[in-house]
Symmetry: D3
């Protein structure tokens, strides 16, 4: 069984991505108290590849995942692609479809289930804007990918 609201990994990741820097202290303190690993960053691009690379690099540098272990990178990769599905809503493509994104991302790794045997899971949350490569011609977008790790 999933834990209640504050013990939820996806909810924490989404709030971390969604909240402004000045609002996030409560969430980060909460994640620290849970001893869950996490990181947060920003990336803007018309190239999907750069989004994936930025998130993977941040997750490795902040020890959210072990970059030497394919097992962990595989779990993270699929979570990133699932999150991008929410952001792109239909075709996982940016520049080819003449659109660009400006995203804040959060990666959280922890134990969201009551049963400790369910082990660790990873959540990737993305929040920002998507639109034409012209400032202002854009609307908001969100995505969340979750995987066992």
């Amino acid at each position: 069984m999933l834990k209640q609201a504050k013990g939820r990994i996806g909810r924490n990741a989404v709030l971390l991505a969604l909240l402004e820097e000045e609002e996030e202290a409560e969430i980060t303190a909460h994640l620290e108290s849970l001893q869950w690993r996490y990181c947060k960053g920003k990336v803007g691009s018309m190239e999907l590849q750069k989004i994936v690379a930025s998130i993977e690099t941040a997750a490795k540098r902040n020890d959210v995942v072990n970059g030497e272990l394919y097992r962990e990178m595989h779990a993270l990769y699929h979570a990133v692609i699932e999150a991008m599905q929410g952001v792109t809503r239909g075709q996982v493509d940016l520049g080819d479809l003449m659109r660009t994104v400006g995203l804040r991302f959060a990666v959280v790794r922890g134990k969201p289930y009551e049963n400790s045997e369910e082990g660790e899971w990873i959540a990737v949350a993305l929040y920002g804007t998507i639109g034409a490569p012209i400032r202002g011609l854009e609307h908001e977008t969100i995505g969340l990918g979750i995987n066992h790790i």
Copy 2:
């Protein structure tokens, strides 16, 4: 240009869907002060059709959209489908893929751009769990669809 954080329609919709009932007062007070129309509800099903119908019915009953005008229902429909892309991440399908969802949804209608000529937009946010049709075998999921209305 999109307004800053609190004036953002997607962010407000996501928070409304994400927060527990006891936490949502701040958001709903904020939406009231903006004079934006909104509604919130819950739906659980293995049938996509029921999810779409629940959201459409709630939005009509709460005067977020005018159910007599195809123009408005068309805007809402596409926002719902885009939100379901985030929830389903790849195939917009539930029961056929042996999975079920338990979702909280929020629909918000307002003016998220600085330029008032950009007019009204609608946001559909979904948050909850997706998984096997067995209690507990599930993880979180989120989706956001945005459209001009």
Copy 3:
């Protein structure tokens, strides 16, 4: 090389599906003069399966394809699915996504290439409306699938 406008199989199929009965005489006379096989029909449903079945049945009954030969049914099937992609634009699904269609379809079989060795090809054209299962809440839609046969 494809033949010019009037010798094109897709264009003829689309016009046949698009034109009202009172307008179609010119197209059908033209197809007769080319000795190309064709059929036209109507189908409305929330179930994709019925659309596929209606087109296949009409094509078999009108000897546009030989229903005993998988080779021919395979060519027709893939052309139908490709045409449905244009109609559904993203998810090849109707009722699960709470939408229904009312379509006119045309199937045309002929030799659209200058080089006679290119042999016979089949075109499936669909034109009609797609929308909510409520009269009037709908817009137009089109699709074309083409295959060698």
Copy 4:
């Protein structure tokens, strides 16, 4: 309720894209008489981005849409992507899948519903060929996207 055949926006857009220049006078005169805005153009490319840009540029230059208003560009953009779904039938991608298109496009903006409160809608129609980047190795393709604007 949608108007009858000649009052339909998608049908007019498809005919405009489908007909040869010497055949289109009847359609354009009809669109003028309805006082509907429209434009027509040609584009060939292995890059989807160029197709999108060509249509958007033509629609802005011919005052079919207001390029300063995201609301209008958003409506046009989604109509273009829906039309490209019909053209690409499965993966909205060209060069990566080793294929190229040569398309005629038409954009029409008008009031296709009996009820004047349904307001303006926009239709994007594409017709041409798709195939290998070798002259002659290609077949026809069509797409139609419709949106409220």
Copy 5:
């Protein structure tokens, strides 16, 4: 690094699904010698749900996965869906698209990497026929999904 041919989990799963019963002794002996868990079965249906359920049930009954642990069922589920992508090639759908499958499936769980820290992975292989719901109107199809577990 992945192990060489015989130590590969996907290759073993595909061969197990592909080979006739009288040919499979070599593979099963090899899997036993590796002490990898596996199972094999058959399922035919127009309903995707039944395919997913058959594979999950077989994998649980044969102790390839622990049905009590969502972590394991999640790993298996995504591997099944990935395998179905290969089988369905575009739309993960059967009956709605008027097609049915007759499949042999194999699930294999083992350690396919040189580095033992990469731990256990699971492979789901599907092989059989797909086609119209009429005997003989069908062609072969294959799919493979792989996940860390």
Copy 6:
């Protein structure tokens, strides 16, 4: 009706792609005895286009298809794309999604049905690894596309 195991075109193509060079003699001898045309090759890339081009070039050079006839190239092309669906499982994309493949491919052309009027069919099988563009961070993948030719 499809022929039994050894007469099956997809099974032969998959085995040809799957088996190591030292194991393939039995399959190639069998294909020779059936007088079926075939070829085998290797390709590794982050660009889908190169995969498609390599297979098409090999099939033309080995007279499995006639490169002058669009009919044959069209049959091969769709079989290649269907095989790539199995390899990519969801989005037919490589580099944009930060992944690369190392594949062995086999193309087989023959008569897999009892009824000789079903004529020739073509099968494209792909087997290899997919993963991050870092050696070792990869798992296996397979795909099979089949078409009438």
